[in-house]
């Protein structure tokens, strides 16, 4: 999920002119654990019988003309494959936008009998790595405004 252009420009200025003291808000651990990782829709994936998960990453559609020309000249394949092991595949499947980081940590810890801290460190590092490669994005659940709520969904007390 990309930030609006106005916000990006604002923080961009802050990065290049540090004396202005403009910094993006720091995400604390508690709010980071409530984020919901979601898979990049451009990626396709399949699970093998042996337990590994293969991600197919297509060529960057936003690549410029020169990049495309260079890629063709250097015979860069149109897509690349990334292999995730069983635990990685398990976490990947949970990155559906519904599970929070916290619930993924809990489920992985329970599934593979990992200590809470061990599970948290491994899963968060793995999610960070996926995010750096643009395989996943993090969503924040925003509470619906009153006008967005469906009155039929509301439970009457």
């Amino acid at each position: 999920m990309r930030l609006p252009l106005k916000t990006r420009l604002y923080y961009g200025i802050g990065r290049h002119l540090p004396f202005l003291n403009i910094r993006p808000p720091e995400v604390d651990r508690k709010s980071a654990m409530t984020l919901r990782p979601g898979r990049n829709a451009q990626l396709t994936w399949e699970k093998r019988e042996s337990g590994e998960t293969i991600l197919t990453v297509p060529e960057n559609p936003k690549a410029g003309r020169v990049t495309k020309l260079m890629a063709r000249w250097l015979k860069v394949p149109n897509e690349r494959h990334v292999e995730l092991d069983e635990v990685g595949g398990y976490v990947w499947e949970l990155c559906d936008g519904d599970h929070t980081v916290e619930s993924i940590v809990q489920k992985t810890g329970r599934q593979y009998k990992m200590n809470r801290r061990e599970a948290e460190v491994s899963v968060t590092m793995f999610l960070q790595m996926l995010h750096e490669r643009n395989f996943i994005g993090f969503y924040k659940k925003v509470p619906k405004k009153s006008w967005q709520r469906n009155p039929e969904e509301e439970v009457k007390v």
Partner: protein, 358 residues
């Protein structure tokens, strides 16, 4: 007797066979210090030195609360520059069979005031008013071996602690539970659990080493030489002269054993070439099938050991024993290796039942 405590162990709350109510706790053991805390508390920083060091254990989640333990050797604190008398006195004392002279009592109050002054300075930086209160000195412990002072402080955060000197190990230990001002009640509860369970020296000749999921007891004469605490792999190396004990633990055993057999894993991780060593299978104290390799060290391995043990040739190891097992209950692999002198043969068998896997 082997250690009966495990990390996050469940023990009967009141009586054996009473209700199904259980109490979970985390056992922490480091450099002879051992204590219990509520479940899921984790060691976040520690020192490698036995004479003086620190240990910090954080609460789960955002970790606003922490238990901090600092210790120092009272004997070393008193000592100034070492003299020839200092080096020779213990030998003459042993020769003449004279007991070591009793050390003078350390100034606990002075030590504590110094610590509180430092905490006060930090509170001053955060512009919070600092207050502290000290309780009178008292003698405690099973045999009255501890002289202790309880204290509390507030300013920025809040803390409840205790400083004491143990007559058995001559250590001065400061233990405190620190948290936010809102955690007042929780600090009290955790501090009482910490102080009630705290031991500052080896028990029955064994030091407890317990952090994360690794719980093991090692003879107190061994000192920690190296550690590797990674997510999924913990390794502690202990040394006594040139003798060594290495305790390792890996997570996700089911995944590791899909690619390797237990024997392949062992050969990959063994300190020496195990080709010429006797192989046997035994049942561990916790009911798992362990693969054990043992025997006299071949000449090539001895050269390697000699190279590693250049600092001390005392108790030069000539024998090797190593065993690996999988604990399906916790999905972990445990490996214990011992390089020993002929005099301490059987060390592996001594340590194995004291390594708690589940």
């Amino acid at each position: 007797m082997p250690v009966q405590t495990t990390k996050n162990e469940k023990r009967p709350a009141r009586e054996e066979g009473a209700a199904s109510e259980t109490v979970e706790r985390t056992v922490v053991g480091w450099q002879g210090i051992r204590f219990t805390l509520p479940p899921d508390w984790n060691v976040t920083s520690f020192s490698m030195d036995r004479d003086s060091g620190y240990l910090k254990v954080d609460s789960p989640g955002s970790g606003t609360m922490s238990a901090q333990v600092r210790w120092s050797n009272a004997a070393k604190q008193e000592q100034t520059a070492p003299t020839l008398y200092y080096f020779l006195a213990p030998y003459f004392r042993r020769l003449l069979r004279r007991p070591a002279p009793a050390l003078p009592k350390s100034d606990l109050k002075g030590n504590l005031e110094r610590i509180l002054k430092e905490t006060g300075k930090q509170a001053k930086k955060s512009k919070a008013p600092f207050e502290s209160s000290l309780k009178p000195e008292k003698v405690e412990g099973e045999n009255g071996e501890r002289t202790a002072i309880n204290f509390t402080w507030s300013g920025g955060g809040r803390g409840q602690g205790k400083i004491w000197q143990c007559a058995v190990c001559n250590r001065i230990v400061v233990a405190q539970v620190v948290g936010l001002p809102k955690d007042l009640n929780a600090i009290g509860v955790i501090a009482s659990q910490l102080f009630a369970s705290m031991h500052d020296h080896a028990m029955e000749g064994y030091d407890l080493w317990a952090l994360y999921d690794l719980v093991a007891e090692v003879p107190e004469t061994f000192r920690l030489e190296a550690q590797k605490l990674l997510s999924g792999h913990l390794s502690l190396t202990f040394g006594r002269g040139a003798e060594k004990i290495v305790i390792q633990r890996w997570g996700l055993a089911n995944m590791a054993l899909k690619k390797f057999t237990l024997e392949e894993w062992f050969r990959k991780e063994a300190m020496v070439n195990v080709k010429r060593l006797a192989r046997r299978e035994i049942e561990t104290a916790h009911g798992h099938r362990a693969l054990v390799f043992e025997g006299a060290l071949p000449l090539t391995s001895r050269i390697g050991v000699l190279r590693d043990a250049r600092n001390s040739l005392r108790r030069f190891p000539t024998r090797y024993a190593g065993g690996i097992w999988e604990c399906p209950e916790t999905n972990k692999l445990f490996l214990i290796q011992a390089l020993t002198n002929r005099r301490s043969e059987g060390l592996w068998a001594e340590v194995e039942p004291r390594c708690v896997c589940h």
